[in-house]
Every structure is written in C-alpha cells, then in structure tokens.
C-alpha cells in the first residue's frame, strides 16, 4: 500500500543533515518532516477526500475557508464502542431516567454530523486498538498490534521501526504550540493512548520487562519511557522543533513506570510489588525531575486538590493497571476520579493556552467489559463517556472547538429478539403485548443482549467488576434464566462460541462530530480520515 516517493526521502535525508544545527527553532512542520505520513497512499487518499470535498455537501472552496478554524480539538474514543453498544447504552441511559429508553440520545448523538468508519487494519479484517488508533492519529492505516508506525514494519521486530515512524496529531499539536493532553481509563501505556505519543513494533512493550532482549539491545524504547521522554524524543526526531511536552496525562498503569521493588509502592498498591520495571528506573521521579512545577498524583484526594487555574502540568496514574470500571470505582483502594471528572479537569488546565489545545480521551474499559461478556459495565462505561463528552461541550466554545466521538472497533455484541418498547435492555425478551418472557424453542427464556462468543453465562449478582468472571470456567451455550436477574451488574450474557475472552468485531463504527470542520464527518470512510479532519480543522500541519 505504501507508495514511497524517492524525492521526498532524499529531501528528508538532506533536511535531517541540514538540521543538525538547531539554532533556528521555528516549529514549522515541513513536508519533509511528514515524509513517512504523506508518502503513504492511505495519507494521500485521506488528504484528497478533504481537498476535493468528496465526502461532504460543501464545495471545496467553501471548505477552504474553514481550514484552521478549530483552535481546540478533542477526540473521544470509546474502546470497543460499536453501534450495538451505542444503541443499548442509549436505551439503558434512557431507562435509568425513567423513559422507555429507545428514543433517548447520548450527549454526542445530538451532534449535527455523523458518519461511519471502516475499521479494518492493513493486515486484519477485524482490527485491534493499536492499528485503529494509529490510523486515527496519523492518517495512515497500519497493521494490528503496532503503534505509531506504518505497515512496512514487522510486528515485534525492533529493527523495522526505524524509518517507519509517523507523526501523530498530538505531536503536530505540540509543534504548533498547543497544549496537549491524554486521558484513559485503561493503562496510559495501553494501545489506544499509546498511539498518540509512542512508536513501537509491539503494543505490549509497555515497559522494559515486556520486551525481548533483542529489542532492548537494538535500542527500542518501551512505551512508558517514551511517554516520559516525549518532549526530548520529539525534538530529536523532528529536527529544529522546540516543544514543551504533554501538559496533562491521566490514566492507569503505574506498574510500567515504577521499578519492580516494593519500596516504590504507592498508597494505592494492590500487588506485593507495584512496579514491573526491571531496569530500576522510576519514571515518575524522572517526570518530576523534568517538570519541577508539575504535579504527580495517584489518588482522588490529590486529584481534587489540583487547582486547574494554577496547574501547568499534571501526571496522574490512578491505578497499578487499568483504572476501575465506573461501577466499581468505589472499590478502589485510594480512590480515583471518573472519566468525566478527568475530562473536566484536563480542559480547565489545557484551555489556559491562547493557542488552544489537543486532547484525546479514551474510555478504555468498555472494551474490557465486553471481553468479559458483561454488558452492564460496557453500557455503564459508555454512559460515563457520554457524560464526559457533555462536560467537554459545557466547558468549551463550540465555535472554536472540534469534538469528535468515535470508537476504534466493535464487539460481537448483539441486540436480538422482539422485545416490546421499554423492555429493560438488560432483561429477558418480553414480546409486544406480553407480560411473560418469550421462550425459545428449547423452552427457555432469553435475553435481548448477547454475545456471539466468549465466556458466556455467569450470574455474579451485584458484582461490579466485570473481570471477576475470569475466575470461572467458560459456560457458553444456553442456560435456564427463569429465576435469574439478568439486569444485575454481575450478570454476564450468554455466548454461542466458547472462548476465554469475547472478541472484537469487524463492522464499521460510528463517528460523531461538532464544531469547526465537523461537517467533514459524513458518509462511510476509512478510519484514517479522522486524522485528516482534525488536521484540516485545526491546520495542525500548517500546510498551504
């Protein structure tokens, strides 16, 4: 797919040599700096869609007047938030409000523009988060499992990284002088957030202990280290630029930043040794040394104490691994903020910059709840994402802020049967005009929601941690649900194909947008187009 332009490569080399003298730092992005991105056919096609107004109702001349109007860009990603998840979450949210549910709208479903994105990876029909988020952040589709590099890479081969690194939208925003932020309820080194800042041949190289010796010897840097060294790495990679680093980072994943030594445990530790790093580095200490005026926090109380008007930089690692499911947050040891709380705080810090900001927000645990076969937590976390989007709407100027809400991929999650209007979305199917649950040909009731594959049926009562199901055996197939409360948090839906973990699905995902450039979100497009929309609206590359 990649169509190398030899002249661009030659120019890149010449430019790199010429830029050894960094006395002139004007933060101008050249076409040469973007060589890996723009020489790629995915990028060329995406850019063309914008330039020629192929996929929208405005003329190319009208579109040109909108270029760069978005001072701020916020990209929300519901990990695994497929269309069926949106529909079910919309109904669940409505029913919680006392409505029948079906006519309810999540906050971002009220946005004026929406479309569909094709999610496949270059090498995979059904994608993973690494390849999809890389597409959204760089404008170039790539292979499953790799971060911030194009498809010329060999997954897991460190040596193949060099020359295939791409610039991300977050990096372009940094270079443009905007404030930048990353939020995730997953580990901040997990594939989706990592694609905003890291270049890696393997998504699982979250810290040095995850890497093979050959990759370490060959000089590849683990993802956590890349986050802490983001500023220096970007300045080294793009000669001539001077950036100030990511202002706001919040999520889980402390383990990848701390040495494997209990002496480094935080007050929030659940493991004997919280850290996993085998190189003895304490990356949280390194971050504090780099940013002496910044705040490093690990719990709710410290989060609440942050004054966004005076805080210039914030690094929050609220969990050893992933943050809690929203429904399980009360069980966190030291307490942790919700996604909407983090979004609110981040915007209040980032909007102190007159040049604007670029923020990515991931609801990472929708995906995990689906993998565990637990619709309750997937829907509940989707509703919390909608709340976070509403927070962004309420705290930004719509005339200067592009907000995009989408998913990286879907899940094998279905809404089935013929339940009547207002039937509890987590309940058993009760047909139109009926009061008793419908029975299948096996004589047993069945739920509206279900999974094509996965662990299958579990009745864990009021358990709010979806991952608790992994302690039990696979139970695919049909069960007698007659006396089971399928609306409880701990109920795990039936599945057809027995697997230890439910899988992603390959259908398109929805994209919603508001603000400058939002009208470019329409029709069915490659997922990599999202980068081009953000780039165009905020003029991140500063191209002519």
């Amino acid at each position: 797919m990649k169509n190398f332009n030899n002249s661009i490569i030659a120019l890149t080399i010449l430019f790199s040599l010429a830029a050894c003298n960094d006395s002139e730092k004007n933060n101008t992005i050249t076409q040469e700096s973007l060589a890996t991105n723009i020489s790629n056919e995915w990028y060329v096609q995406g850019a063309k869609v914008i330039e020629t107004a192929d996929a929208n109702w405005k003329s190319a001349s009208e579109i040109s007047t909108l270029k760069g109007n978005a001072k701020n860009v916020i990209l929300f990603v519901g990990d695994g938030m497929g269309v069926s998840t949106l529909t079910a979450a919309r109904i669940f949210d409505g029913q919680r409000k006392g409505m029948l549910g079906e006519s309810n709208s999540l906050s971002f479903e009220k946005f004026p523009f929406s479309g569909l994105a094709k999610t496949y990876n270059v090498d995979a029909q059904t994608p993973d988060s690494a390849g999809t988020m890389t597409a959204m952040m760089s404008g170039v589709k790539t292979d499953a499992g790799v971060i911030g590099v194009d498809a010329d890479i060999q997954r897991g081969d460190c040596a193949s990284v060099a020359g295939n690194e791409m610039i991300s939208a977050l990096e372009l925003a940094e270079i443009a002088g905007k404030s930048t932020g990353i939020i995730s309820t997953a580990r901040i080194t997990h594939a989706t957030p990592a694609a905003t800042y890291a270049k890696s041949a393997e998504r699982n190289w979250e810290d040095i202990s995850d890497m093979p010796e050959a990759a370490i010897t060959a000089g590849c840097e683990d993802i956590a280290s890349q986050l802490v060294n983001f500023e220096a790495n970007l300045e080294a990679r793009i000669a001539g630029v001077d950036v100030d680093g990511i202002e706001v980072v919040m999520g889980g994943g402390r383990r990848h930043f701390l040495p494997k030594d209990s002496a480094f445990n935080s007050i929030d530790a659940a493991s004997e040794k919280e850290g996993d790093r085998t190189d003895g580095r304490d990356l949280t200490a390194e971050w504090r040394a780099n940013y002496t005026s910044g705040d490093y926090i690990v719990d709710q109380a410290s989060f609440d104490a942050i004054n966004p008007e005076t805080t210039t930089r914030l690094f929050g690692l609220f969990n050893e691994s992933h943050m809690q499911y929203e429904a399980d947050r009360a069980n966190d040891i030291a307490g942790e903020p919700s996604l909407s709380e983090m979004t609110n705080k981040a915007i209040d810090i980032l909007d102190n910059n007159d040049k604007g900001f670029f923020l990515t927000v991931e609801s990472g645990r929708i995906d995990h709840a689906h993998h565990a076969g637990n619709a309750y937590n997937a829907l509940n976390d989707t509703i919390e994402l909608a709340k976070a989007v509403q927070t962004a709407i309420d705290n930004t100027n719509p005339e200067e802020t592009l907000i995009i809400v989408t998913a990286d991929h879907s899940h094998v999650f279905t809404i089935a049967g013929y339940p009547k209007r207002g039937n509890p979305i987590l309940g058993k199917v009760v047909g139109v005009g009926k009061t008793e649950a419908s029975l299948a040909s096996d004589g047993l009731p069945y739920t509206t929601l279900g999974y094509t594959n996965g662990l299958g049926y579990q009745n864990l009562g009021q358990e709010t941690n979806a991952d608790a199901a992994y302690a039990n055996s696979i139970a695919a197939g049909r069960f007698d649900l007659t006396g089971v409360d399928t609306t409880s948090a701990g109920y795990h839906q039936e599945a057809l194909v027995p697997l230890s973990s439910e899988t992603h699905a390959g259908e398109d995902v929805a994209v919603f947008a508001s603000g400058p450039g939002a009208h470019l979100v329409t029709g069915t497009n490659e997922q990599s187009l999202i980068f081009h929309i953000m780039n165009y609206a905020a003029d991140l590359t500063g191209s002519d």
Binding site: A270, S473, T503
Partner: protein
C-alpha cells in the same frame, strides 16, 4: 470401630513423624509442604464395605498419582499443581491478588485484586478453613516432641461422603486427608516440609519473574501464541485453592446444606 480408628491414626501419625520430625524449626508462615495425591475409583466390593466407616486402602482401580505443593510466606501463598501454579498475595487493604502461572511457558496471568473473607483466605493458605475443620468430629489429639496432631473424621450418608483428616495444629497444615464419595476416593499425604529460606524464596521469585498479562488484556492479544491457546482452551485452573483430587477437580469435605 473405635479401636480400628485409633490404630489407623497411630499408623498415619507414625508415618508422618518418620518423615517430618527432623526439626522443630518449621514456621507456620514460612514453609513449603509437598503432598502426594492419589485419586482412585473404588472397586465394586469396596462399595459394599463403604457402608461402614472403614475406608479401604487396597484393592483400588484406576489409580492416579501426582504431586502438589503448598508454599507459604507472610501474606503470600503459592499453590503448585503440575505445570500450573497460583500465587495469592494479601495486601494491606485486605485485598487479595491472584496470579496464575504456567511454568512450561514461563508466563503468568494476573487477576484484579479483590476483597476476600478470612475463611476464604484460610482455605487458600491451609486448604481447609478453620470453620470447616471445626465442623468435623475430633477423634483424638496427640503431641509429639514438636507438634500437636489432631485426627478428625466425618460422614454424611445423604451424599455418601466421608473422610478423615490428620491435622498439624501448630503448623495449620494437612498431614493426611482421605475423602471418599461414592466410587471416588482422593487421598492427600504430606511427604516433606521445606523450611530452607532460599528454596522457599526461589519458589516464589522464579514465578514472579515470568512475563505477566492482565486477564483483562487477553482479548486484545490475539496474536500471542500462548494467549490464543489459552483463549481457545480456557484458563481455569481447577484446584488452585482448597481440596481437589488428582484430576484437579474440586472435592467437597462435607455436604453443604
């Protein structure tokens, strides 16, 4: 009947003391206990005898034997069953984190820490919680130069379940356990106790260094050969705590009403 139980108890006790009385230095919270598990199907003639409280030791068929070990450190337990093992760590917040190890692959799967009752923690740490043990019938207690050994027995005709337990009261450790339910018989015998600090630390540390994956992340790692195998075959390690037979299947001690 009482005489036969007493004789059996003395035989069991002697068998244990020969192997285990080498030292009185064992620490309840820092040891490794090696067990021999025998799982067998009773022949039809034993089924007739099973109406009495005498458990036949001979004339069994389909015998399966394997070894298992239980390792303890303060707030930490390691259960080893063949090539699979499980570490349990109790944090300060009364949360217990479980990590399952696959020794052949040198890989681990981590579960999110969760609150655990003291009884459940005892089941992991001792294999039999105190509450369960207290519900058994105490037959006798004998003290040697080091430790007190208590013999318990039980029988539940409703479930055809019966058994006996020789319990080291000082180390909170099973010395010998026999459970019979219908045709199935499971037998645990303590073979040796490890008290060498380096050996115990090594048992834990070598598994702590395995490459580890959160269970929540397994679904996102479809290309990992180890994980995809586990996704397709299932991860569940039966018998990672509590009493199980040589097939790794859970064995009830008593019928729970």
């Amino acid at each position: 009947m009482k005489i036969s139980i007493t004789i059996l108890f003395l035989l069991m006790f002697n068998a244990f003391t020969v192997k285990a009385d080498q030292t009185c230095q064992y620490r309840e919270d820092f040891l490794g206990a090696h067990y021999l598990l025998t799982n067998s199907q009773l022949a039809s003639n034993q089924l007739v005898n099973s109406k009495t409280d005498r458990i036949e030791e001979n004339a069994i068929k389909n015998k399966m034997i394997h070894t298992s070990s239980l390792w303890r450190k303060p707030n930490k337990v390691l259960s080893v069953n063949g090539e699979r093992s499980t570490t349990w760590f109790k944090a300060n917040h009364d949360l217990v984190q479980k990590t399952m190890h696959f020794d052949h692959f040198q890989r681990s799967i981590e579960y999110q820490a969760k609150a655990m009752s003291e009884s459940h923690w005892q089941q992991i740490r001792q294999l039999i919680p105190n509450s369960k043990k207290q519900s058994l019938t105490l037959v006798n207690t004998i003290k040697d130069s080091c430790y007190q050994q208590a013999l318990y027995k039980w029988q539940d005709k409703a479930t055809n379940l019966k058994g006996k337990l020789l319990w080291n009261k000082d180390l909170n450790l099973i010395t010998e356990l026999t459970i019979v339910q219908r045709k199935q018989k499971s037998h645990w015998r303590l073979q040796a106790i490890e008290h060498d600090k380096e050996v115990i630390e090594l048992a834990f540390s070598q598994r702590a260094n395995y490459q580890s994956t959160d269970f929540a992340d397994i679904g996102d790692n479809e290309s990992d050969p180890f994980l995809i195998k586990m996704i397709n075959l299932g991860f569940i390690e039966h018998g990672s705590s509590g009493i199980y037979n040589a097939n790794g299947e859970s064995m009830p001690i008593q019928h729970n009403h």
